[in-house]
Amino acid sequence: MPEHTVLTTQDIVINVLIFLLASFLGLELIRHVSRLLHTPLMSLTNAISSVSVVAALIVLSNPKNDFIMWLAVIAVALAMSNVISGFMITERILLMFKRRGGGERE
């Protein structure tokens, strides 16, 4: 895949549009998250935003020198620890949320 070093105006406009749409969507989605789940929500979004590991991988595919390479390697380790523990903790917390006595009815 070609490396885009210089962004065209069109790229920038499209990216800004995506940013705005994602903001509106995000605000809408989060507004509807159950208040019970705000803590697991935070660990989940944390894990999701650690998709920045992808950025570290891209830099690692073409490092100009060792310094750049090591920055990317450290970033991979940090982001992966978030990804792994983020999804695992969310699962652990969600498993604790149970409705007891009243059965499974809503």
Partner: protein
């Protein structure tokens, strides 16, 4: 070219999975499904990237993943639920540092000619990333009680903090004008780090729910900014979702305290304040009751509301509270829990602790629901909460708490207030509730007192 179409399609798939993941969190029933959708999205994103970009040093990559797993897995498996806020602060620190380091790497990779738009985004991404890193480290240290939770207050501290940020931004602007001035970059990073450090040092322990949410938002936004630099749309979407999540949570926390962002960040609330002359004159007395007295009152009750706060977490009293629920329910007493949005040290903290103690989640009431029910309550038991129950928020315009939405605990027929001592709450304000004729103060460690009430009831 078809390869690129495949990669881009996989990125779209990952983005859709992330969105569905958050959608799943709208209900407890679908939440676990949402978490799995998120994990699947992450896997797709990583696989797609490895297919598209050829990483030469797979040994380093695998090493980094192993190190990440060694740090992440034990935390995920062993972390006690009371420590979730600390872990969240730490993950914000990790996430934002990762993003900031990639931004730094990208600067050196593109150096010396970086177009102005890219440099502007890079500079803001790095400033945001590095300040979130130190800010989150301090939040972690405060929550873990490695350092005092009291805000660090000194004359002109806001001026000093903003000056740090101002210098960092000025250096960033200088880089936008001439990106080849690489000597400015480390300076910009240092000032951003200093700003994050000073900012959170000035914020008190009980404001942590808001601070964590704000740092959450910053960490997400810096990831989105990195997406702009790399022209990676998946990163923009995921970072923005995280950013808006943190933003909404921070808004909710501020609303629940009737304060603004600026007031939380720069207000220094929670500093020891000199006692105002007004209340000092009138010596008011408080009658201390024993756990046995409380058991006697609970014996005839029909509806009991439990109001948990940070003190319950600090004393690890959630399991004792659940035992109290079981004993009372066995006698036909209805139990509900009233959860204030800012109770605890992060959004939703109390819900998680009570879920851990196996309290059924349909007994956890939000503030509005709970307030409708208080007038019908025979007993309200306050366990480790204080300011969020202070009626002064409704009645005393001169109180720092005035205007803050509170749980109307005072409307219950009897109020049982379990507290370590008569010390004022976090806001440094005396609680009116202590002196009401229908309030029973019980002094002692929350866990011990609740256990003693349970034992007295069992007799």
């Amino acid at each position: 070219m078809s390869g690129e179409v495949l990669i881009q399609s996989l990125y779209v798939l990952a983005a859709v999975l992330f969105i569905l993941s958050l959608k799943g969190m709208s209900e407890v029933r679908t939440a676990r499904w949402g978490n799995w959708a998120g994990s699947a999205g992450m896997l797709v994103a990583i696989v797609a990237t490895l297919l598209a970009y050829h990483v030469e040093r797979y040994d380093l990559l695998i090493g980094a993943v192993i190190v990440g797993a060694i740090i992440g897995v034990p935390i995920a498996l062993k972390l006690p639920m009371t420590a979730v806020p600390q872990r969240t602060a730490m993950s914000h620190a990790f996430g934002s540092l990762a993003v900031a380091l990639v931004g730094t790497a990208k600067y050196y990779q593109l150096y010396p000619d970086i177009d102005r738009f890219t440099m502007a985004v890079l500079a803001s991404e790095m400033i945001l990333g590095y300040l979130t890193f130190t800010g989150s480290c301090i939040a972690f240290a405060k929550l873990q009680e490695l350092i005092s939770g009291k805000p660090l207050i000194y004359p002109g501290r806001n001026f000093v903090s903003v000056l740090m940020l101002g210098i960092a931004v000025a250096l960033g602007l200088a880089l936008v004008i001439d990106s080849s001035q690489s000597a400015l970059l480390p300076l910009m990073i240092i000032f951003a780090l200093l700003f994050g450090f000073l900012l959170v040092m000035g914020i008190g322990g009980a404001d942590m729910p808001t601070v964590i949410a704000i740092l959450n938002s910053y960490a997400g936004l810096s990831a989105a900014a990195l997406g702009f630099v790399l022209n990676n749309k998946l990163l923009i979407v995921a970072g923005t979702l995280d950013g808006s999540s943190g933003f909404i949570l921070a808004m909710l926390m501020c609303k629940a305290m009737n304060r603004s962002f600026t007031n939380v960040l720069f207000g220094g609330v929670g500093a020891p304040v000199a006692k105002a002359g007004a209340g000092a004159g009138e010596a008011r007395t408080v009658v201390a009751y024993s756990p046995e007295d409380v058991a006697a009152i609970l014996d005839g009750a029909r509806l009991v509301m439990i109001v948990p706060g940070y003190g319950m977490a600090a004393a690890q009293a959630q399991h004792a509270v659940k035992e109290l629920e079981d004993v009372l329910e066995a006698r036909g007493v209805s139990i509900r829990y009233a959860i204030h949005p800012v109770a605890g040290r992060m959004p939703g903290h109390m819900n998680v602790l009570l879920a851990e103690a196996q309290v059924s989640y349909d007994k956890l009431l939000e503030m509005d629901e709970a307030n409708l029910l208080f007038p019908e309550c025979d007993v309200a038991i306050v366990v480790g909460a204080n300011d969020i129950t202070n009626p002064a928020a409704r009645t005393k315009p001169d109180s720092p708490l005035y205007g803050m939405p509170i749980l109307d605990v005072d409307k219950a027929r009897t109020v049982v207030f379990i507290k370590r001592s008569l010390a004022a709450g976090f806001a440094g304000v005396d609680n009116e509730l202590f002196y009401l004729p229908h309030t029973m103060m019980v002094f002692g460690d929350a866990k011990q007192v609740v256990t003693e009430i349970v034992n007295a009831l069992k007799k």
